[in-house]
Amino acid sequence: MTTAVREGAPPSYVLNGALPGALAGIAGGLVFGAALASLDGLPAVAALVRSDLAWVGFALHLAIAILVGALFGLLVVHQRIRSSELLFWGLAYGMFWWFLGTLTLLPLLSGQPMTWSLKTAQAELPSLLGHLYYGAVTAVAFVLLRRDGHAAVRDHLRPSTLLRGLLAAAMVGGLLVLAFGVGAGARLGWLPVVAVCMGIGYPLVFTGQAEGTGPALIRGAAYGFVWWVVVSLTLPQLVDGDRLDWSQPTVAAATTRLPPYLLAGAGIAAVFGWLGGLARNLFVDDVRLLHHATGTRGLRVLAYGALSGLLGGIVFGFVWGTVDVLPTVARLVGARGAVAGWVVHLVIAQIIGVSYALLFRGRSYDLASGLGWGLSYGFFWWVFGALTLLPVLLGQPPRWNATAIATAFPGLIGHLAYGAGLGAAFAWLEHRENPWWVARSDTEAVRATARRDQILGSAPALWILTAQIALTVPVLVARP
């Protein structure tokens, strides 16, 4: 059935994958190499060939970048990833290579002990950011080298789409200003201004197909992370003419801006999607292009969401019960004690479960995709709920600094466990009720496959990018 949609002559792995991937890897390698040069990181690469010369390190780095880029190209061709979905694959791929390359292969091949310790990870934090740039640049270069890449970029940069992004940014930026103020001294810094650029740039990473608010939130949060890296960790230093400083203390200090960037990205993506839906309904004459929802409908979806949320909430409750946060949760409604905390927590868990069901119905192809969406949504709620809403509702400032984020780490674990339970349970329940991929005819099979292709086109990249961001939180904020 898969071939019904992904048909056509099979692309050449070398000509369409490895070769452009290698060329894109050069572009990514140059950017990463420049960063390494600024960070004095090239001698460490040269150590692989028992040298400490920067140019040797640069050459070796470029060779590795070409090899890793070629692998990326092969992966893209094999997976048949569309150009519009490549950026997040590139970011996830680059970040993964930090774990595999920098933390594992580099010490092994250079004869150093492989520690995988937090200390090592924090010492290699500049490399992590470099890998992110490498992945992003490689992906973008790969898109531009592809035959359909230019068309995809042009298609995403239509004036109406840019205007939509701008409107979304204006709305989200305005909301942020209303909530937190604006200016260098304010909690958000210049984020509301940056949000305008985020809005204009969002159409570039948007797949172009209506994807629903849930997936948009996840995509937007990842998009916000990219902007945080660029605006908070890179541009100011480049503008000031200083060398790059991606050391752990600098990054930890910049985490005061990380949650709002994630939220701004998520907000822009969600509003962008809503505006798109509104525009489609108002201005599109061809009704065939209108989006028809699949997945469980009616009251059942609410019940399934509440049930799944309850399940995830029970798992999460044990984590919060252990770290004694439940009494704080009880204070949300003016109550006291762990029992009241449990009740409030489970009610919130069910409400979020219902929201998950409404936002992500018909988005899980199997339990693994349910896990992916659930984990990502759990992470989003850690940022939005535990770091922002909970303290604000309790009359405290948002937990937007390294110390507070480190303190809230058990909450992150709890939210991830909650999301995993929620996503898996909902996927299971939904599949019992309405297996949307079960096709009765070839026509319907093609439609179901197209939908699955859309879901799985960039979603796995978003899941693993989100998971990796979550995993690196200790690296970002823990005291060395």
Partner: protein, 575 residues
């Protein structure tokens, strides 16, 4: 129907599980050995590599269980592995491992810092396991033959009838297919919607829009092959049904064709009586009443006015009682539009052969309903039957006649004429006699449910033909067919009526739940609440709720949507 994809609940089988365990074990061994070599698992003893391999095998088995039967691609499988690696780290290294060492898990950043090596190890191991799993599934998994086998249905089931019973059976088959069965189910119905019959009388009275109490069959059973058409013949020996010119084969046939009005061959009934079994019936009846009000408003002859304004319903069961009550409400709610009609002029008469109405309810509730309706001015002719009908009157078996222009027949139903030529044992009114497992006697592979079947309860008495029974019978028949296909014994159908309510119009109802009686406004609110909840789909519920809400604010509509039955009457001077 050719099912072409399978979800995780129809498990990928042992092969996927084995591949998952194998991938997890291999990757666990590789990274366990690497970590042991680098001294990252020293705190876990000398055989820590084996422990890590075991951990890998466990997460690998989960991988085999959660990734669908058809892995999408290596990157997606690797992503699944990475996610499971993350979860494995949280569950095992942050939670179980401290517990095994006698410490309470803290999930703090300090604990995460201490378990950082295991985090990186789990992440990389999970990713490798996902990639290996994909390779194993693609290389060693016998995909195509397995899929080809799966596409072959285990049984072809044809359901005839898209009412409560048929749709319920189809839904159950869909659920069974998700659980690993391979039924090819075709539902054939001459209407493409499921009609919520308990609210039909309200449509006739203009209280509800016709479409709001019906739901498309295709939406109710999206994974069932639906054929809109009428089955004209059943060949039990050849195991086929005829649909137009087409012959549709089956292995199991579920008859859920419902019932049609039965006029007992009484003269003039079929030609002149209105029925209330379908949306078209309800719309026709409403239009008839409104048309007659229009005519009566202009009619100067007293006898003719009386005839036009006399509404007779035959049958004192649920349908007849609700019909006469709703017609009464409709007429009196719209009379203010007709200044030429005195409110005392319209007459409503219910004819019933028994001594009391509503035999389905207890005697006291039947008496309550009778008193309530009589108090409004509805007349009852009990102990008599309608014997004939003409265009101008209905005759009774006691020799009297009632001049009327509207005669509604609800006094008799019989199974669909499709069953007329069906061999096998026949029950009351020609219904198909089935055993307790819903299987028709003497008819191999034929099952019957709903109004067209005579289903014995535990005492041997037939179950009543209600929607709540039909829905349960639909589920039971699907389960029993599944049991027979798997060479197991089908289970007898057992169900006790939960409750039953009849609407008596104007905020009044009567009914009972598990034998406990309710009446008046309480029963009416329960009637509305229960039937609203039973409507198929939230969309219908909201629409009906809006209809009811608007009904409180605005008057009933008097637009006549169909062509008048008689030629328009010239306008005359109003009296």
């Amino acid at each position: 129907m050719r099912l072409q994809e399978y979800g995780p609940t129809a498990s990928g089988g042992r092969a996927a599980l084995l591949f998952g365990v194998g991938s997890g074990l291999a990757s666990g061994l590789a990274f366990g050995a690497l970590m042991s070599w680098q001294g990252l698992l020293e705190s876990h003893g000398t055989r820590s590599w084996a422990a890590f391999a075991l951990y890998g095998a466990i997460t690998g088995s989960l991988l085999g269980a959660v990734v669908g039967r058809r892995p999408y691609g290596p990157a997606v499988s690797a992503a699944g592995g990475l996610l499971l690696g993350l979860l494995g780290w949280v569950v095992w290294w942050l939670t179980v491992d401290p517990l095994l060492h006698g410490d309470a898990p803290s999930w703090s950043i300090a604990a995460a810092t201490a378990a950082q090596p295991q985090l990186v190890g789990s992440l990389l191991q999970g990713t490798l396991a996902g990639t290996l799993f994909h390779l194993l599934t693609v290389r060693l998994g016998v995909r195509e033959p397995a899929d080809a086998k799966r596409r072959t249905p285990s049984a072809r089931v044809v359901i005839v009838g898209g009412g409560f019973g048929g749709v319920s059976a189809a839904r159950r088959f869909e659920r069974l297919n998700v659980r690993g069965h391979r039924f090819a189910v075709t539902l054939i119905s001459d209407s493409n919607f499921l009609l919520f019959t308990p609210m039909l009388a309200e449509v006739a009275s203009g209280g509800l829009e016709a479409q709001h109490i019906s739901a498309p069959v295709r939406a109710a059973v999206p994974h069932t092959r639906f054929r809109h058409g009428r089955v004209t013949a059943i060949d039990v020996a050849g195991r086929t049904v005829r649909l137009g010119d087409e012959v549709v084969p089956y292995d199991h046939l579920v008859l859920a064709v419902g019932s049609v009005p039965h006029f007992l061959d009484l003269p003039g009934m079929a030609e002149h009586a209105f029925t209330l079994k379908s949306l078209a019936d309800a719309a026709r009846l409403r239009d008839r009443v409104l048309s007659l009000l229009e005519r009566a408003d202009q009619e100067t002859d007293a006898a003719e006015r009386a005839r036009l304004l006399t509404f007779v319903v035959a049958g004192g069961g649920f349908a007849g009682t609700e019909a006469v009550a709703e017609l009464y409400d409709l007429t009196h709610d719209v009379l203010h539009f007709y200044p030429g009609i005195d409110p005392d002029e319209p007459r409503f008469i219910l004819i019933h052969s028994g001594k009391g109405i509503l035999p389905e309810l207890s005697q006291s509730l039947g008496g309550y309903a009778l008193r309530k309706l009589e108090a409004r001015g509805i007349a009852f002719r009990l102990g008599v039957r309608a014997s004939a009908a003409t265009e101008r009157e209905v005759r009774l078996n006691d020799g009297t006649s009632i001049p009327t222009a509207t005669f509604v027949w609800t006094a008799g139903n019989r199974p669909s004429p499709l069953l007329k030529d069906l061999p096998g044992e026949r029950g009351r009114g020609g219904s198909v006699v089935v055993d307790a497992t819903l299987r028709a006697f003497e008819l191999d592979g034929v099952w019957a449910i709903g109004d067209c079947a005579q289903i014995p309860d535990a005492d041997g008495n037939p179950y009543p033909p209600t929607a709540q029974h039909a829905m349960r019978e639909g589920k039971a028949v699907a389960d029993n067919i599944a049991a027979v296909v798997r060479k197991r014994r089908p289970k007898p159908f057992r169900f006790t009526t939960i409750g039953i309510f009849v609407a008596l119009g104007h905020r009044t109802a009567a009914g009972e739940i598990r034998g406990r009686p309710f009446s008046g406004l309480t029963a009416w609110l329960m009637w509305r609440g229960i039937y609203l909840a039973k409507l198929p789909g939230i969309e219908r519920r909201v629409r009906v709720l809006l209809d009811w809400g608007l009904d409180l604010v605005f008057p009933r509509d008097i637009v006549v949507t169909t062509a008048p039955a008689d030629a328009p009457v010239p306008a005359q001077e109003t009296r």
